[in-house]
Amino acid sequence: MKKIEVKKATKIFGKNPRRGLELLKKGLNKKEIKKKTDLNVGVSEASFHVEANEIFVIMGLSGSGKSTLVRLLNRLINPTSGTILIDGEDITRMNAEHLREVRRKKISMVFQGFALFPHRTILENTFFGLEIQGVDKKEQIERAHYSLSRVGLKGYEDSYPNQLSGGMQQRVGLARALASDTDILLMDEAFSALDPLIRREMQDQLLDLQSDMKKTIVFITHDLDEALRIGDRIALMRDGQIVQIGTPEEILMNPANDYVEHFVEDVDLSKVITAGHIMTRAEAVGNDRGARVALKLMNDNDISSIFVVDRSKKLLGVADADDAAAAIKAETPLSEIIKNVKSVQVNTHLSDLFDDISKSPLPLAVVDEQDRLLGLVRRGAIINALAGNTPLTKETEVQNL
């Protein structure tokens, strides 16, 4: 379902912005128009849609128009032309009252500089939106308490914003936006003012909250790593135009043009590529097959150890050739010689694999959330991936027993 649909939205700053529309139609770009007139093109014919429950990241460098674009969505800035549909309703044509209603019930916003009210306590800040809506006082307080507890700020209700750290202040900003219980959340560089560790923590918290809130989130950032980490889809902006829209992988693997390519070339691959991307087929044997079968599979595949799984493909451990040979002599079942093996989740980033792989003499087993074996990761594959031979496009092979 399309929650937000933007069609050819344009914002031109300056006197008589309509002049600029003509020039844009003639194919002039932002710089040329700036040279010719005193007009500043903020957003130029941006078109995209945001699905319900997705995190849509708009990313670009400063001056690319991303902050203007997000403000068009709740009309903090009036577009010069174009249509913006929120739940199918054109926000650009709404009267003041209707617009207020949409801002109260459908869209809330989190700001880069937190934008907390210094004269209000944390609790009062949190129920600001509800107070504006005229919600019953008791309910305001209840919902604000709930919202604060969701972001982990229980106990700070009576503090003032300047008594809190940056990360905590932005949690209040988030709680304030959540308290209104709107479907759509606009986040304008919400984590950019925070230091990297806190930023990471906030991203995790946002993903956590999103997994059970299922909001529609439009997230603005200038940080590609952040975009890749949290975005379901990413729109890249430059000079007011959207240059590419796609999933993180699509953007990395098939940059639409030199600009995007240049942008993504500095990406820390270890934070983008996951175990699932680089894993290869893992040989495995069912534990009810016995040591003989295990040894034969090892010999056939020229390997010295093999993963052992149960009937539901759940990883039990690893058996090596020497033990298997001994077990055949002693007539012991396969399950007795299984040794523990280090396993990692399929969506673990490479950066988090380094430690495990350096300690383990064997390849790492890659499993899904139910602990079922999917494949294995060898040291060589990690080094290969980091060297830029990115295997992202390759279909990942999944073990078929």
Binding site: L76, R103, S108, M109, I132, N162, S180
Partner: protein, 282 residues
């Protein structure tokens, strides 16, 4: 004045005509205002007299203690007792009533104008030169039309005081409103505030320290006008100073002057911006 290459532009004559026109056509209206001011001042003077000096002194000392603590409270206590001891209590209360009336009216008129100038750029542009005019035109000058319009005594004194003392309240209110960080305005809009909600829940509360600084200045300027106001017959300590100057009485001059200084310092300290530490900064 000697002949110049230009014929003299009769600005003075025009001003004269304007005041005459207003006097002729709106005399009744200004009469009501004068009567209103007079009765407001009278009731204040009556109230102060009704309280008796002891109650008044203790009340102000208590307010000073609540607002600023023991130091200012002691100063208030000793200062007011000194004024009483010197025999200027009655006149001091008249001056006090004049200042309170002027400041209250300055706030009632100045606050909305200031808020409007903080929100509306055009209004701000129009208002600024008018405020400059009010503050720089020597205050004696507008005593003349004040007499025509409001007669003599307290009312023209109050009006002249307001004209001189109100601009800081307007300016600082406008400044305070304009200085509210734009992201807070955006936040308030983004949550669907109406203009009034934004004004009362965000802009005015955040501008309050600045507005209070303006009110404080208005109070101080009102006190600096009491001697000028006495020229049009406003009673009080100003009249004592005026009398002392015209009859060369150093003793009265120093005593009445000292009383004015005491009231000024006291009101300044009490009304000073005691920014709440908890909410300072952002």
């Amino acid at each position: 004045m000697s002949e110049t290459f230009l014929p003299k532009i009769p600005i003075g004559h025009w001003a004269d005509l304007l005041v005459q026109f207003i006097t002729n056509h709106f005399e009744g209206f200004f009469g009501y205002i004068a009567a209103g001011i007079q009765s407001f001042v009278d009731s204040l003077v009556w109230l102060f007299a009704f309280m008796t000096p002891i109650v008044f002194i203790l009340l102000l000392a208590a307010i000073a203690f609540w607002r600023r603590g023991i130091g200012v409270a002691l100063f208030t206590l000793i200062g007011l007792i000194l004024i009483y001891d010197l025999g200027y209590w009655g006149h001091a209360m008249q001056t006090f009533a004049l200042v309170v009336t002027s400041v209250v009216l300055s706030i009632i008129i100045g606050l909305p104008l200031g808020i409007l100038s903080g929100i509306n750029k055009t209004f701000h542009r129009v208002l600024t030169p008018i405020l400059d005019f009010m503050q720089t035109m020597p205050s004696f000058v507008y005593l003349i039309p004040a007499i025509f319009l409001f007669g003599t005594g307290m009312p023209p004194g109050v009006v002249a005081t307001i004209v001189f003392a109100m601009p800081p309240t307007i300016r600082m209110t406008g400044l305070g409103i304009r200085q509210v960080p734009s992201d807070l305005i955006e936040a308030s809009d983004a949550f669907g505030s109406t203009t009034w909600q934004k004004l009362f829940k965000v802009q005015i509360p955040i501008a309050t320290p600045t507005i209070m600084a303006g009110v404080n200045q208005s109070i101080m300027l009102s006190l600096s006008m009491v001697v000028v106001a006495s020229l049009v017959g406003a009673p009080g300590l100003g009249a004592d100073v005026y009398l002392a100057v015209t009859s060369l009485r150093t003793d009265i001059g120093v005593e009445a002057g000292l009383a004015i200084v005491i009231i000024a310092i006291m009101l300044d300290r009490i009304s000073q911006n005691t920014r709440n530490k908890k909410t300072g900064g952002s």
